[in-house]
């Protein structure tokens, strides 16, 4: 190490500020307005505990409710109404009756078939279709009941989770 290095260290050694420097800094700090958090800071605050728990629980509950509602809605569309007709919203393959009208036509128009007056064939078709619908109704209803049960269970779980979270947040919060 050269003498120049030593001389430079000596020339640039630390100096102390005036005695009241710290007091003046603190005074200026006290006068400063509280800094407003930026948008990013506010977004970041959302994922800090315990808020993170609230967000996670809220998202889970919303998902459970949405899934339950979608399932219930899908199965409710299958339910046969009081008039014995299937809902318009039901999927095409589920709207099909047990016996297709074409099959009925084939039976009626078969050469060996008993001749039935035309007005009776129309009535027969309607009867067959109604019978097929009624036959399917209990099965669809039971599915709807099951979906309803699932939805109620999902709501119950979501409610219980929200209660737990609220309790946890209250426990973490400042004590009075």
């Amino acid at each position: 190490m050269s003498r120049l290095d030593d001389e430079l260290r000596n020339a640039f050694k630390r100096q102390q500020p005036p005695a009241d420097f710290t007091a003046r800094v603190l005074e200026r700090v006290a006068r400063q307005p509280e800094p407003r958090p930026s948008l990013w800071q506010r977004l970041a605050a959302l994922i800090e505990p315990p808020k993170m728990r609230w967000v996670a629980i809220g998202v889970t509950a919303a998902l459970l409710i949405a899934i339950g509602a979608a399932e219930y809605s899908r199965l409710a569309n299958k339910v046969v109404d009081d008039t014995g007709k299937l809902s318009q919203a039901a999927p095409p393959d589920e709207k099909k009756p047990a016996v297709k009208p074409a099959e009925i036509d084939a039976v009626i128009t078969h050469p060996n078939a008993v001749v039935v007056p035309k007005k009776h064939t129309q009535s027969l078709k309607r009867h067959q279709l109604a019978a097929a619908r009624v036959e399917k109704a209990p099965e669809v209803k039971s599915e709807a009941e099951a979906a309803k049960d699932k939805l109620m269970l999902a709501l119950s779980i979501a409610s219980s989770a929200l209660n737990d979270a609220q309790k946890a947040v209250h426990d973490d919060g400042p004590k009075p």
Binding site: F12, P17, T22, V25, V29
Partner: protein, 184 residues
């Protein structure tokens, strides 16, 4: 720094980030010498240096939440002080307009008066460009290695080395001419 001191500093940083004024006061007291000296040596004006140092600590107060450790705190203060000094100097054209050749030469030899030599060195360093001047201050006031200076000033390591080499060479030339009999 031993473990106990490090833990105390960590604790102070944490408490200060949470709004503890006493902890912040201790941090200011501990680092004010470093910040003020850097500004004072760079700007060569005590009142301006004090003003700048206060602003650095105000900025620290606003950014306490981003400070992760005592080492990070020191690095942050050096970095902010350096950049503010350079900005201030450029903005207000504080750099003296006197050239190196105009720097007054001492009438007495260095051996007779070390204070005089120190002042001579400071005045010569004062004629350097802003970044080169800060490199010399960080090297000799803070005793930083070139790699650390490069990090603080956000500049390539080779640039720092080059600044140091040129500055020292210039200082040697100037002082050899002035104090011919002294070997530097």
């Amino acid at each position: 720094m031993d473990n106990a001191t490090g833990a105390r500093l960590d604790d102070r940083i944490e408490r200060s980030a949470l709004g503890d004024q006493l902890a912040f006061e201790q941090i200011v007291t501990q680092h004010q010498g470093m910040v003020f000296s850097m500004a004072c040596h760079f700007l060569r004006d005590r009142s301006l240096a004090e003003e700048l140092a206060q602003e650095v600590f105000l900025s620290l107060h606003q950014n306490m939440h981003s400070i992760k450790s005592p080492e990070h705190l020191t690095f942050w203060l050096r970095k902010v002080t350096s950049h503010r000094c350079i900005d201030q100097s450029r903005r207000q054209k504080l750099r003296p307009t006197v050239s190196l050749e105009d720097v007054a030469e001492p009438a007495a030899s260095a051996s007779e008066n070390d204070l005089f030599l120190s002042e001579m060195l400071r005045r010569v360093v004062d004629t350097l460009p802003e970044k080169a001047r800060m490199v010399v201050i960080l090297r000799y006031q803070e005793d930083l290695e070139p790699t650390e200076i490069a990090r603080v000033l956000d500049m390539p390591l080779n640039t720092v080395k080059s600044h140091l080499r040129r500055s020292l060479s210039m200082l040697r030339d100037k002082l050899s001419r002035t104090l011919g009999e002294v070997t530097l």
